[in-house]
């Protein structure tokens, strides 16, 4: 077999392209489960906010607890499907999500007094910032998803009137679920 330098360079480029496309498909496939999960959690939370606003804190605490437990369960279920370097990346993403939660809690704490409506819009905006930043590395889809939810969140905050919680259920939860279902179509199931 004769391979010159140009052939070798072209082959390595083709390998890089195939690896990049595959990684994107894997990330999309895995992310789909998380988006659907957090879409359901978010939608349930905002609907519960509307029905029982006096129990909002405890409801969100329980729902987020369930969400994090399910996130860890999905991660464990996927662990044999990904390579060690991808596992490290997944752990870093989980840590980044945790940092965002802590950041949101700290900011809402020092900015008191805040209304439930302000907190209800601020927390998803912080998470959508995370989506947009993640999209810089993992695919434009996450930038689009984060930007769409952020813009809709602002629109709901300013113009939804008394329907804020129900509109947020549709905007935040609905878009996450829809995005997750779309990613399931284009991503790789391992």
């Amino acid at each position: 077999m004769i391979v010159d330098r140009a052939d070798a360079a072209a082959a390595l480029t083709a390998i890089g392209d195939a690896e990049r496309e595959t990684t994107r498909a894997i990330v999309y496939g895995i992310a789909s489960s998380y988006l659907i999960l957090w879409g359901v959690v978010t939608m349930t939370g905002y609907v519960a906010d509307d029905i029982k606003p006096q129990y909002a804190w405890i409801i969100w605490l329980v729902l987020d607890g369930i969400g994090f437990a399910a996130t860890i369960w999905i991660s464990i279920r996927n662990k044999t499907g990904v390579r060690p370097d991808q596992k490290i990346l997944a752990r870093k993403l989980l840590a980044a999500q945790f940092v965002l939660v802590v950041f949101a809690i700290l900011v809402t704490n020092i900015m008191q007094p805040l209304t439930a409506r302000q907190i209800g819009a601020f927390v998803p905006l912080v998470f959508m910032l995370g989506y947009v930043l993640a999209g810089l590395w993992f695919g434009r889809f996450f930038i689009l998803c984060g930007a769409v939810i952020a813009v809709l969140t602002l629109a709901v905050f300013w113009w939804a009137g008394p329907w804020f919680s129900l509109d947020m259920a549709m905007v935040s939860g609905g878009v996450l679920i829809f995005s997750g279902l779309w990613l399931r179509r284009v991503g790789a199931s391992l």
């Binding site: 391979v3 390595l12 195939a18 690896e19 595959t22 498909a25 044999t80 990904v82």
Partner: protein
């Protein structure tokens, strides 16, 4: 370092191996998803998967999900080793700036 691998070096087979090598140890990839990733046709992908399977580099599994037939593909341990050796061989050519046979 070994010599180049003519089975793997073919353009489509090289991309198949690169793609499957990104998966974890027990992961398989759906035939249709692999086809989309590589932007190729059913016939082309099937032919090259047959060649790689014959040499023990990939394993092809046919199964049914409900009534729908599914083909899933994974790289074998021998395939990963051969791919790694071939990539090292390509890098060596670049580094040495020469030609090899």
């Amino acid at each position: 370092m070994t010599d180049g691998n003519p089975i793997i070096h073919q353009a489509t087979r090289l991309k198949i191996m690169a793609s499957l090598n990104r998966l974890g140890p027990d992961a398989t990839l759906d035939f249709t998803r692999l086809k989309a990733i590589l932007d190729t046709t059913d016939g082309n992908l099937g032919t090259h998967l047959d060649a790689l399977e014959k040499h023990g580099y990939v394993a092809v599994e046919k199964l049914f999900e409900g009534r729908k037939p599914r083909t899933r593909v994974k790289v074998t341990a021998a395939g990963r080793r051969a791919f790694k050796d071939h990539v090292a061989y390509l890098h060596k050519i670049i580094d040495d700036g020469g030609e090899t046979d």
